[in-house]
Symmetry: C2
Subunit: 653 residues, 2 copies
């Protein structure tokens, strides 16, 4: 039997801290300009009043600042943390039984017979505070003691005890001897706002000839309202086992090869394909893009062609088979002889990790600040945890998008480990039920604290059946869903806006004559969606509600083909109603959760349809919608919450 090893007078318990990811094992994610709500369950035995502070610091600071926490309900406490700098913030919580506040609360409830004794007890506590206080506070506290112990009327003494000044002095000099402090700091990882809100456009530079020629496309892409231009790998492409058009095994001499078969005698991950241009061209493109309000995102694919310089220079980074040949990629019985994976269990894994990190740093030195990472789930997961932190130490503005089309827990882990954005299963979520369940799951804590979805209707690898057979309406529907359900979204163009929809063969999600294996010539189309895309992106920029996901809420409709959801940011409330059936006109009654939208159900409210500009007055929660997919398959309504007060105002005129 032994005495406890801790101080048993620390009566306060602090638990259930948020935002946290896996109990603090990973940081929660925020962007600059946000207010992070730091919360915890804080309680103690009995009925004493507690006080609590949230202690916080940016990574660049060693000393904590303090913010007083406020009780909400059910023993939950909160403080606001203003997120201003990139990098990491750290916070912890300290709380204590506040005997002065307990005394102060009870003083008002006591009967007259007790007051004299209570003032003596109060004077003792104020004296204690004075002994802890610095000169100026001490002087004021001693003044209060003198009042209590002096000859003033009792009512004057009590009036003094209730003064804000005394409360403020006692707070500043509170007795924290028995305070409980959390034993760890929790981290918040801060990115720039583009990590949370971005519209991506992907194109293959070689289809436009060269990096210089891509510059001619910038005004059009900017006009559509995108802010990230993502380029598949721009490195030299291997020759041996090169794949031909439509991914056939033997390329002809004219075949351009896949940009993901990286490396040739002309260089590897730190080189540019000679036909695309020079590093000067690349940096010029970055400058031109930035001038158009676009950032260049580069693809990083950690694999090599058999011709990559690494293969000869770093044989230890590849797995050898018993006959001495290098193990190519395979998924038996399929073989991918044009791709060598790195051997991450190599004894030389440290050199490999350092080199791969340096690939990122190399392109950062050349002006890149956004990376799309190819198949991160086929490289060791701890590698990403380390690499992203290594890079962010000096470059906290860098954004990483994980192309991890893999099982949910691996997708989540990569996001926890540091990826700023994540491709999602959006492409395969087409029905109202699928979309609702999926976005409910990923738009709320805990998931939303670490994973930022990036929704793509198409990619060079994914031409869904929905797009193959849904015609123009399918493209419009998927565009609007991606752009309004997810604050980050992207399209692979010009295939998308030109409605390219032919698959390699029935049942395949590969494009026929895929741009992955050949150079395309993009010719304008009559049916081009670029004007529609420009409208949708403008709506996103003008409505803060669409620039985040955490307020996403689904509303009931009477038709399984009509989906309805809202997002809000302060006074900005946007309701999207979409027909997910690309073939037929659908109609429904929609039941808005007016309470959740903070709308008064007894008053009409104005809705402004942002795609068409039309304005309607709605009455109550239930309103009728009919959507013809061939005209416009969705409405994006901005709700005017203020109708009631404006009407009230009219009555006074």
């Amino acid at each position: 039997m032994s005495a406890p090893a801790f101080d048993g007078r620390r009566r306060v318990i602090i638990e259930g801290v948020s935002p946290t990811v896996d109990d603090g094992r990973f940081p929660a994610k925020r962007v600059t300009g946000e207010i992070a709500l730091i919360e915890a369950d804080i309680f103690a035995d009995g009925h004493d009043v507690l006080s609590a502070v949230m202690l916080h610091r940016h990574q660049s600071e060693s000393k904590h600042r303090e913010t007083r926490m406020t009780p909400l309900v059910n023993d939950r406490w909160r403080a606001e943390l203003s997120i201003e700098q990139l990098g990491y913030y750290f916070f912890t919580i300290e709380a204590w039984v506040d005997h002065f506040l307990t005394w102060h609360r009870d003083l008002q409830k006591r009967d007259a017979a007790d007051v004299d004794m209570q003032l003596r007890i109060g004077a003792e506590m104020i004296r204690g505070a004075a002994s802890r206080a610095k000169a100026r506070d001490r002087k004021r506290l001693e003044h209060f003691i003198a009042t209590i112990e002096g000859d003033d009327e009792m009512s004057d003494k009590l009036h003094d005890m209730r003064s804000d000044e005394l409360l403020e002095l006692m707070w500043r000099n509170s007795d924290r001897a028995n305070a409980t402090r959390l034993q760890c700091e929790y981290a918040i990882e801060v990115d720039r706002p583009r990590a949370a809100f971005s519209a991506w456009y992907e194109l293959f530079p070689r289809s436009f000839g060269s990096l210089r020629n891509v510059e001619a496309e910038l005004p059009g892409i900017a006009k559509m309202g995108f802010d990230v231009l993502y380029l598949p790998p721009i490195h030299p492409i291997g020759r041996r086992f090169r794949k031909g058009r439509n991914n056939v095994v033997n390329a002809g001499p004219q075949d351009a090869g896949s940009p993901w078969a990286i490396g040739s005698s002309e260089g590897g991950h730190k080189a540019i394909h000679p036909q695309l241009g020079t590093f000067e061209d690349f940096r010029h493109l970055i400058g031109a893009a930035n001038a158009s309000g676009l950032e260049i995102a580069l693809d990083i694919a950690f694999q090599t062609s058999p011709d990559h310089p690494y293969v000869s220079e770093h044989a230890d980074w590849f797995l050898k088979r018993p006959d001495g040949t290098i193990q190519y990629a395979e998924n038996p019985p399929k073989k991918y002889q044009d791709i060598y994976p790195f051997f991450f269990e190599s004894a030389e894994w440290r050199d490999l990790w350092n080199e791969l990190r340096d690939v990122f740093l190399f392109w950062i030195d050349n002006g890149v600040r956004i990376f799309r990472v190819d198949n991160p789930h086929t490289k060791p997961l701890p590698f990403w945890y380390w690499t992203i932190r290594e890079i962010k130490k000096d470059h906290p503005d860098v954004i990483f998008l994980a192309e991890a089309f893999t099982r949910p827990k691996i997708m989540y882990w990569l996001a926890k480990a540091g990826f700023s954005q994540s491709y999602t299963y959006f492409a395969w979520r087409n029905t109202k039920y699928e979309l609702t369940e999926y976005f409910k799951a990923i738009s709320k804590p805990p998931v939303s604290d670490f994973l930022r979805p990036n929704a793509w209707p198409n990619t060079p690898d994914i031409l869904t059946e929905y797009l193959q057979y849904g015609g123009r309406p399918a493209f419009v529907i998927r565009l609007i869903l991606a752009a309004t359900l997810s604050a980050n979204y992207g399209i692979y163009g010009p295939a998308f806006e030109r409605l390219v929809h032919e698959a390699r063969e029935p049942g395949s999600e590969e494009y026929r004559d895929s741009e992955k294996y050949e150079v395309k010539q993009w010719t304008p189309s009559n049916d081009d969606l670029s004007a529609m895309i420009a409208v949708v992106n403008r709506v996103r920029r003008e409505n803060p509600a669409l620039q985040q996901n955490v307020t996403l809420q689904f509303h009931n409709t009477t038709n399984d083909e009509i989906i309805c959801y809202s997002k809000s940011a302060g006074e900005n409330v946007v309701v999207t109603v979409a027909n997910v059936d690309p073939h037929n006109t659908q109609s429904a009654w929609i039941d808005l959760d007016l309470a959740a939208l903070q709308l008064d159900g007894n008053q009409p409210f104005q809705v402004h349809e942002l795609l068409s500009g039309a304005r309607y007055t709605w009455h109550g929660p239930r309103n009728y919608v009919q959507l013809n997919p061939n005209v416009v398959p969705a409405h994006i309504f901005r709700i005017r919450r203020k109708v009631r007060s404006e009407r009230d105002f009219e009555y006074f005129l």
Copy 2:
């Protein structure tokens, strides 16, 4: 820039471990005889096959045993841990990329051209295993290598590779060099089965004269089917400020006082009230109770009367006011001058903690193994964490019931900290909605991993409005709900079975002429519920389904006054249907979730009503029930899952 501090070749991630409480900060609770399902999310990059073991030990062991884990779905893995001993079990998890199993899986999918090379790769791995193996395994592994490298037909070699023996040998000698092991052990706290399944009966010994006289009540209590007999404090009662009948401030000379005003010149927490008897009487009562299948539970209330010996002997354990008097309990403007709380912020808190722990040990030495702890939420929460562990170190069979009628998070924390059972809000959950929401919340993980509810329809402090005005039906309904919703339940008798229902005044939950403040004479009642209680307790004992809560499931009914829920344990399935309206006959269609009950919806099934003995045949999920509260307000059905196979059998006769 630095190399990673960890071994990057450890590719496996282990997370989401269960059962755990607050990520391992507290143990999960189980009882002996249970199988604990240990689960985790285990995954790595790529598509390699993984292997995992759960490592476990009882606290008495220093070395881990290993149990192989099995993959379920969605990267979830499981192993079973058989809980056999009291105290603590510790477990952790180790997992690795299993290159041999990956090779083994892929071997079957490879085309013929690859097989030769693959056998060479396999031989290398088997050679590696042989180098790690002990003599006997090594010899067998070398035999397999010889086969691969020998002149056998390829088909024979492949046949060998597929042998169970080889898989077993390779498993035992698997290459774990790059295994990931969780960095901590998780704890499981093991109680005896009574902690999870018990029926409590509370009585005031003094109302029967003495401890000796209580022995005469034992057969009746045992006949009703209870297994715990709980006695309010049996210590000497203070004189100063003693409360009179109905809690009036000044007791008359004949007033017996409240048993919770502990301590007089005759002794304190380690003494027995002289009128109740001697320690010999107490130990005799324990023996007699045990002989009747009952255990004695003792109340521990850590507070004193002004006359308690502690007050003079340990003045430092009490808070003094400025005038030197001791601070009595108060909730301004209410004063409780008859009660002194301990001052847990005393400089002498260590002595106080040790003494309070010793109070438990004192009664343990006198044969007590179950304690009901009075108001634990008004003593520092860390005190309970320490005390319960101190006691359980040497007495892992001791059970603690927390009477923490307080805010939910404090109630939960006390359970996490070590209380074996917890009083609940059951008394105030009367409607179908309230009962459903409440028991859903407390019967499933994470809550059920640390909190074991104990449901009381009444206590000496709680006579609910429902019982005051609901008549006999109210008592029967609340009995059946408590006994079937919660594996642990209790009643305060004889007040309960004799339907005592008069409150001190309207709006009060206090009994009129409460037994807390006076000695009662219990006279038999015509309407006594003891026969009904005996039936209910027999049903509980005969049906393992009612001896746990985690399988609790609610089923829809068409009437808000009719609640329906099931519990199951293996083949034992019990469905309870109750009318929660004590005044009116109610009827409903109930919609059983047959899939959840593993019943075939296309076949009739037999239900056996356990209160009446009646048997019915039900067809499909929807069945009609009508319940007259004045006859019997509930049915407890045992479902015969086997009907289908029995009928099938009949056809063959």
